[in-house]
């Protein structure tokens, strides 16, 4: 499951998947600006068939936060290896 999430980030931000980890954030990924952040949320919602609330979205500061909120929507992202 971690794969799928990292894949989405890789695609939306146009960065190699190897550069993504749980601490990835707007500070570490150059193209993660507010607009691309919305695109990321959009892609995650479509992939996992869920809808985040506006509070959840504003609470997302890094990939770890995404995983946390996905869990609240019953989407488990295992904390295993990246590949």
């Amino acid at each position: 499951m971690s794969n799928k999430l990292y894949e989405i980030l890789s695609q939306v931000f146009n960065v190699d998947i190897s550069l993504i980890n749980d601490q990835s954030s707007p500070e570490t990924i150059e193209s993660w600006d507010s607009f691309h952040g919305l695109a990321l949320i959009d892609a995650i919602e479509m992939e996992f068939n869920i809808q985040f609330s506006i509070s959840e979205i504003t609470d997302i500061k890094n990939v770890d936060d995404i995983k946390k909120h996905l869990k609240n929507h019953s989407v488990e992202i295992d904390n295993g290896k990246k590949f």
Partner: protein, 586 residues
């Protein structure tokens, strides 16, 4: 809904596009009153699919006023060819969006009048300052009102404000060839307000068209880009079995195919034909490409009571056992149209795959398996758009059918001269006047094959020539037993002095080449010259890639070469075809 790739796909794709890989390019600007990120990039990728590289410019957030009013703005220095101005209802109404009834009816009316004038002036100013084609969105009429159901009882209420504004915009720019009003309201209706407007994206980033729907919006806007860049298509090629009717005529028989009003499957095909017919009536050419026994299929087309499209609607019917690709190439040749102007409908995946791999220039529609979806599939295509309807468009369908009948006559006549006689050609050659000048200019701009000098003239040029004493501008109207071809030939003569006239321009539309009409036109010139006491007619043949059909014209008529010109002595006799009747000037 049509499937579109994700916005992030388009944004990433656009990064990998380089201008040097493309032969054609354009410049598209997107400006507006809300967040428009990603739209220009999506348009850029869609242009690349058409083999056009588009330079793109996205306006600053809600900077459209400044960008248009400041002559030194980035928008002007970008020099757009096409500019999309996307505004929305919240912006235009401001607080009135929430509390329209804070002010009186009259004040609401004045408010809209003011906003309309501001917008109209802004667009007119932009139009004057740039040579740009401008597409402005209309406004989404709010479906919610604090008044609820009694909104409909109000005097110039919230909804009326917007519908009135939209109406004023349409009227204002109806006759302006540079400005289009995009039915954004219609776009939202098609997709559903709840799908277009995501409150979270709006509150978080002032996004007023959801990221998911930006590619759909881009697709809609391509309806403008395609005809502006000449990438629209003019010809539909149709299979028959399971495309125009349900079933296979060769197997199910005349009474077994599904084309009935009482049958839901039959109805799907009937409506599909009705929509195709309406496109044909405004200038789209229809043709048939079907693997069938000719007589079996024609019987349905000619005699089936529920058939909507009839023989006279088709410019070409390839009903045979040849392969679909060869038929398509022949259709392109006979109808004299580019493969890149064709759209192919065939229910059979194998046929489609074959055509896609052999002639990718043809747009092969991915037809759904379910015939009830044929109509929505057809209606979604944005390839048939044009920027202006002309009379010629409306009669084009008919003209192509008349051409087909000429070809059939020719095939059935062994002797070419016999065929020419049977055509019953009538010509009328007249001086250019206000009605023919636009057509004459259009001919000089578009005609490539039978064009001796390929000089391109705008309407102002033709007007100037026709009103000057030292020039003659005449045009040729051709009709025959099958129909009227309209003005399809022209020549421009320069009266050099008392002894000599020079042929500056002499051309014929490719529709009428090879029937002796060009010979009659030259006869006319020589007659006029003789009457005016002129001794010599001179003309040049300026060779181009496309005008080989005309290269021996002067030679065949007996002109002699002299210093780079072809010269004819008016005392000599010139051959004159006997099969053409001249209708004298009124």
């Amino acid at each position: 809904m049509s499937s579109e790739k994700k916005l992030s796909f388009f944004i990433n794709e656009s990064k990998s596009l380089t201008e040097s890989n493309f032969e054609k390019n354009t410049r598209i600007a997107v400006i507006g009153s809300f967040t428009l990120n990603g739209l220009a990039e999506t348009l850029q990728v869609k242009c690349a699919e058409l083999k056009i590289f588009s330079h793109i410019f996205t306006g600053g957030y809600n900077q459209y006023n400044e960008e248009i009013l400041n002559p030194k703005s980035n928008l002007y220095s970008f020099k757009p060819e096409i500019c999309f101005l996307l505004l929305d209802t919240r912006t235009i109404l401001g607080d009135l969006f929430f509390n329209p009834y804070d002010i009186s009816n009259n004040d609401r009316k004045n408010f809209i009048e003011t906003k309309f004038n501001e917008l109209a002036n802004l667009i007119s100013y932009f139009s004057e300052q740039s040579q740009c084609k401008i597409i402005i969105s209309n406004f989404v009429a709010p479906t919610y009102s604090p008044y609820g159901i009694v909104e409909s009882k109000t005097e110039y209420g919230l909804q009326k404000m917007i519908t009135d504004l939209n109406s004023k915009l349409l009227d204002k720019f109806k006759n302006n060839p540079l400005v289009f009003v995009f039915n954004f309201n219609g776009f939202v209706t098609n997709h559903g307000q709840n799908n277009i407007f995501d409150y979270r994206q709006y509150y978080l980033g002032d996004v007023r068209v959801s990221l998911e729907k930006i590619p759909h919006l881009a697709n809609e806007l391509m309806s403008y880009v395609k005809p502006i860049l000449g990438k629209n298509r003019k010809c539909i090629v149709l299979d028959l079995d399971n495309t125009l009717w349900g079933g296979i005529i060769g197997e199910d028989g005349f009474n077994g195919i599904k084309l009935g009003h009482n049958d839901p499957i039959g109805k799907s095909y009937i409506e599909f034909q009705k929509h195709l017919l309406s496109l044909h009536k405004r200038g789209i050419i229809l043709t048939v490409n079907s693997k069938n026994n000719f007589d079996d299929a024609m019987k349905v087309i000619r005699e089936h009571p529920n058939m909507v499209l009839r023989e006279e609607n088709f410019a070409c019917l390839k009903i045979n056992w040849n392969d679909k690709v060869s038929n398509l190439r022949e259709i392109a040749q006979e109808v004299n149209i580019g493969l890149d102007s064709m759209v192919f409908f065939d229910d059979d995946q194998m046929n489609r795959d074959f055509v896609i791999s052999a002639i990718p220039e043809v747009l092969t529609v991915e037809m759904p398996k379910d015939p009830s979806q044929y109509v929505p599939t057809l209606l979604k295509l944005n390839d048939f758009n044009i920027t202006k309807i002309t009379e010629e468009d409306k009669s084009r369908g008919k003209m192509y059918v008349e051409q087909r009948k000429r070809t059939e006559l020719q095939k059935s006549t062994n002797d070419f001269n016999e065929y020419l006689k049977k055509l019953d050609i009538k010509l009328s050659i007249k001086n250019a006047n206000e009605f023919s000048i636009p057509r004459i200019s259009q001919l000089t701009l578009k005609t490539n094959q039978f064009n001796l000098t390929t000089r391109r003239y705008q309407e102002e040029d033709i007007l100037k020539f026709s009103s000057s004493d030292d020039k003659i501008v005449e045009c040729v109207k051709v009709s025959d037993k099958f129909g009227d071809n309209g003005i399809t030939g022209t020549y421009i003569i320069i009266k050099k002095n008392n002894e000599e006239w020079i042929i500056d321009t002499f051309l014929l539309s490719c529709r009428i080449i090879g029937r002796g009409i060009e010979d009659i036109m030259m006869n006319q010139i020589i007659e006029k010259a003789k009457t005016a006491g002129i001794k010599r007619i001179k003309g040049q043949f300026i060779p181009t890639e496309k005008n080989k059909p005309a290269e021996n014209f002067y030679k065949d008529l007996g002109f002699k070469q002299e210093d780079g010109f072809w010269v004819f002595n008016t005392n000599d006799t010139i051959k004159k075809p006997e099969h053409i009747e001249m209708v004298k000037n009124e």
